[in-house]
Symmetry: C2
Subunit: 248 residues, 2 copies
Amino acid sequence: MGTTQLETAPEPKYWHLKTVLSDALDTEFSVGEILPNERDLAARFGVARATLRQALEQLELEGRLQRRRGVGTTVAPPRVGVAVDPARHTWPGATGDDWQPVAAEEAATVPAPVARLLERAPGEPVHVVRRSRVSAGRPVAAELLYVRTDALPGCADPAGPDPAARARAVLHALQALDLDGQDRTVELGSASAEDAKQLDRLPGAPVLVVTTRYVSGGRPTAVAVSTYRADTCRLTFGERAAEPVLTG
Amino acid sequence: MGTTQLETAPEPKYWHLKTVLSDALDTEFSVGEILPNERDLAARFGVARATLRQALEQLELEGRLQRRRGVGTTVAPPRVGVAVDPARHTWPGATGDDWQPVAAEEAATVPAPVARLLERAPGEPVHVVRRSRVSAGRPVAAELLYVRTDALPGCADPAGPDPAARARAVLHALQALDLDGQDRTVELGSASAEDAKQLDRLPGAPVLVVTTRYVSGGRPTAVAVSTYRADTCRLTFGERAAEPVLTG
DNA sequence: AAGTGGTCTAGACCACAGC
DNA sequence: CTGTGGTCTAGACCACTTC
């Protein structure tokens, strides 16, 4: 807060601003409270609005703030813990998972990385199931599940006008297979236009991308690409997953 | 400004720019190649430099680009898969892990969240060990490991002028304990000044924060906070962790 | 209509790498 | 030194929500 900073210079303004704001959030604000608007904040701290926004972006990335166009900036609640690895080996769609089927279709083209994981040529058809995950009343993740069509011979019929019903049919057929195992990767990504809409965020919002491969009969049978909101989610793994805030 | 775009408007320029650049990276550039500088690129696409930078930031976040001040922007190699969950239950520092001890000290103050995980009051002393993880010759993660001092009675002596030696001593003492289990969380964060230096990034760079809690004797004994470079790392979990990107 | 955050511009200067 | 990316400014307009 000093005035003369003779040799503390090399620290960028937005970085210093961020720490000041972060401390203020801890001491002077409570969850859900709305902050002054960006123009006022910038004026108060004597910086350009762009600089103030750089600090706010960092804080939003860390899950401290939530910004909504047309509304304002509010103090975000602590990140929600979502269980990703239920030690038990089960297919997606098993009873008790937190996902809701949205739609399904048989697609001829899949992203190249997914095709590689499935050990299929990019042109061969696969079932594509879109699902949604909700926690504490808020959407936390969107998913695209790819299943080899030849693994579900009884499910080759795409009939039914209801997209959600088709999705449930594919998921139900999966449960009959033996599951040898699964492996997972987690990386940072940015939300596609569709995922963003499903997650109630803007396109490009940071997401944690969880890629799960399911192995059955000695070969990869399904691949799930789940995108979690990085600002509001904390992924939990292991035995006693997600103690602080979790439903059941 | 260029021509009339009557109804293609709602897509932000930087978003469109990002997809154009992404396609160009796939088709016209190879890994390691350097791109034209930002001023030239901005001029070529007819946008302000700030807008061009917004697109580049997204691509860097997705691990497609690498930018270094004073050098330039290069096409990044595919993300490195790093194994995080070696199904085997072992303490940090067990033979065969990929971490290098850097230093250790006995600290009286620990971050509040860590103290809570350790079920210690924020004031009680703990061992703090800093470690570094290197993969493919590049630093990929920095870690702070917190260990209850009362769990390592034989290690109460902080002697030794060599920081790395002290770190090894703490890790070695850990191995003698029984390990009941461990649980983990993954979330998005931004690099602190120290982590940034260790990771060869700028402060605030996006990182994947892995928090691991080790339980011994029925109570939490150690907590590791590992920060992985989000731009270059893909965390892998499960049995067949981290098989190289290409399957031939 | 008013107020918010989101996008965009055209400049300027700074910090750093390499010659 | 030159050239690069990083920071910062002061303004403008747009998209959205709310009243």
